[in-house]
Structure formats: C-alpha cells, structure tokens
Amino acid sequence: MGLSAQELTIGDSYSEVVVEDLTRTQIVQYAGASGDYNPVHSDEKFVTEVAGYPTVFAHGMLTMGMTGRMLTNYVGDGRLTYYGVRFVNQVWPGDTLTARAEVAALREEDGETLVDLTITTTNQDEKFVLTGNATARVD
C-alpha cells in the first residue's frame, strides 16, 4: 500500500525514532552486512591513535539505512524512485536518531503520481546528522 495523493498536503510530515542509544555492536553488525570494514567504525585503537577521532563512529550508510526504514514505513514498500542524502555530522555510539520526512511537492510524471519528500535525521542534541530528499510513487 502506498500513500494516497488525495490525502496528502504540502507540509505533511512523518517521523520515527530510528535508533535509541546506538550500540557499537550495531555498527559492527552493519560492517558485516554491508562489507564496509573501515576500522574507523569498529577499531577503537586505530580510530583514536591513527585517525585521531574521539571514538568509533557509525557508517554514513548505516544512518541512511536506518532513515530509509522511516521512509519505507511512510511511503510503502517498493514505492521509492529516488533516495539521496548528505551526511552532515558524524553519528556516535550512544546517539538517538529521529528521522523525519516532509511532503515538499506532489506531481505527475509519465502517468504516475509522485510525492517529493524532504528528509532530515537529527540526534538527541537536535543536531542534523543527515539531510536529503526522496521521491515515491503514490496512489
């Protein structure tokens, strides 16, 4: 089931807490599933002593993946035609992230009705960690 264009208004929004108290273990889990084993995400010794960061941090793609869950819960499965983001701040163990989508436009293209969404994901300090856009087919 997708969204119904008739029931959507510009400015409508939907949000979800996509992770509470992000664990190092979930970051490791993402490394294993995605195949991105960059030690900055799991290797405390490397990341503090060589890379120079305070501790390990999440893959941008983990934040994009978790934000994608909010998106597909909102627009429905298999409805996205575009999803793009910028990683604007790092995500750290212990972070709680809230992902939000807002209806920016409704339009017709090639006989389909599409919704354009503006996406933001913020941490517990209300700091943006991800900003982006998505487009989905609606009914």
């Binding site: 089931m1 997708g2 996509v18 992770v19 979930q26 889990q29 993402y30 294993g32 599933a33 995605s34 195949g35 991105d36 084993y37 960059n38 030690p39 900055v40 290797d43 010794k45 490397f46 990341v47 503090t48 002593e49 060589v50 890379a51 120079g52 960061y53 305070p54 893959h59 941008g60 793609m61 983990l62 994009m64 993946g65 978790m66 994608g68 869950r69 998106l71 597909t72 819960n73 429905g76 499965d77 298999g78 996205l80 035609t81 575009y82 999803y83 793009g84 983001v85 910028r86 990683f87 790092q90």
Partner: protein, 172 residues
C-alpha cells in the same frame, strides 16, 4: 565500485535488514511478501551498497595475505611503528588516514532488487571539487557513478556517491 557478479540473496537481505534495525517482513518472510503489492521479498533501499562484498578489490575489507591498516599489535598494521611513538603521528592524524569519509549518497531506483537477481555494476568517476571548511580545513570531494544492471542487462539502480578527504580531523 566495479563488480562483475552481485547475486541478490535472501539471507544477505535478512542480515542487512537486521543491521539497519528494520524488522519489516517484506525483507524476510516469503509468505507475507507474496500477499503484498510488491509480491516478493525485496531488498531495503540502501542494499546496493552491499555490493562491496562482491568487489574483489574492495579496499575496506581485510584480504588474505595483505596487511590490514587497522590495529593488531600496533594501532595500524600498515605503519612501521606504533604511531604513538612516532614523530609522524601528527601528520597521520589527518582525515585521509581513515581513507576519507562518505559525504553524499544518492540512489535512483528503476526497480527494486529481489532475491534471484544477479547484478553487475559499472563505475565511472564523476566531478571533483574543493571547499574550505572551518571545522576540517580543505575538503576534497570526488563523485562516482555506479550503474547496477540485472541479468537481462536492464538498468535497475543508479547510484551516485560523493566521498570527501578532509585536511584535518573534523572538530566536534
């Protein structure tokens, strides 16, 4: 990333969905998926990135017989000395030692991936540019475009990735 053969498999989709904390049954339950509009298990929207698993040269995966740049006995397996004891340690503390950071990622979906698909991916470099940042010095951005095609040669996902190498570690 260039990948000759990226088989889309149900168990890989399940593991990936777990890793992003998404328990949606469309990613794991055949019977549920069959009852939906989509009609079968599909992969989550960012799954194409996991093609890294099938890139033989992917540089962020330890490989047999090659030194890994993460820690073993010392903080970096590819530096001669423990950087703590080396004068070079300050130089090493640039964002580049982490192999750069991911700045942007965009996916255009021509259709959604499902188990049984066998993709190939071709990569071409895009633009590159520089920007000055207060928190991390000079930022060097570079773009790459990856086209994922299915077993019939049809374009299924187009990915645009932007990486950034920072002059220094990003101030928090």
């Amino acid at each position: 990333m260039a990948v000759e053969r990226f088989p889309i498999e149900a168990s890989h989709i399940l593991m990936f969905a777990r890793a992003i904390g998404d328990s949606n049954l469309i990613y794991s339950d055949d019977a549920h998926a069959a009852s939906t509009e989509v009609g079968s298990i599909i992969a989550p929207p960012t799954f194409a990135q996991a093609s890294a698993q099938f890139d033989p040269d992917y540089f962020l995966r330890p490989k047999d017989g090659q030194k890994w740049f993460g820690s073993g006995a010392t903080a970096s397996g590819t530096l001669l000395k423990d950087p703590k004891e080396s004068k070079e340690s300050d130089e090493k503390k640039s964002g580049s030692s982490a192999g750069g950071l991911h700045a942007e990622q965009h996916f255009t979906y021509h259709r959604h991936l499902k188990p049984g698909d066998v993709l190939s991916a071709e990569n071409k470099p895009g633009e590159s540019w520089e920007k000055e940042s207060k928190r991390a010095g000079v930022l060097k951005f570079s773009e790459s475009i990856t086209e994922y095609r299915d077993q019939n040669g049809e374009l299924v996902v187009t990915a645009r990735s932007v990486g950034v190498v920072t002059e220094k570690v990003i101030e928090q």
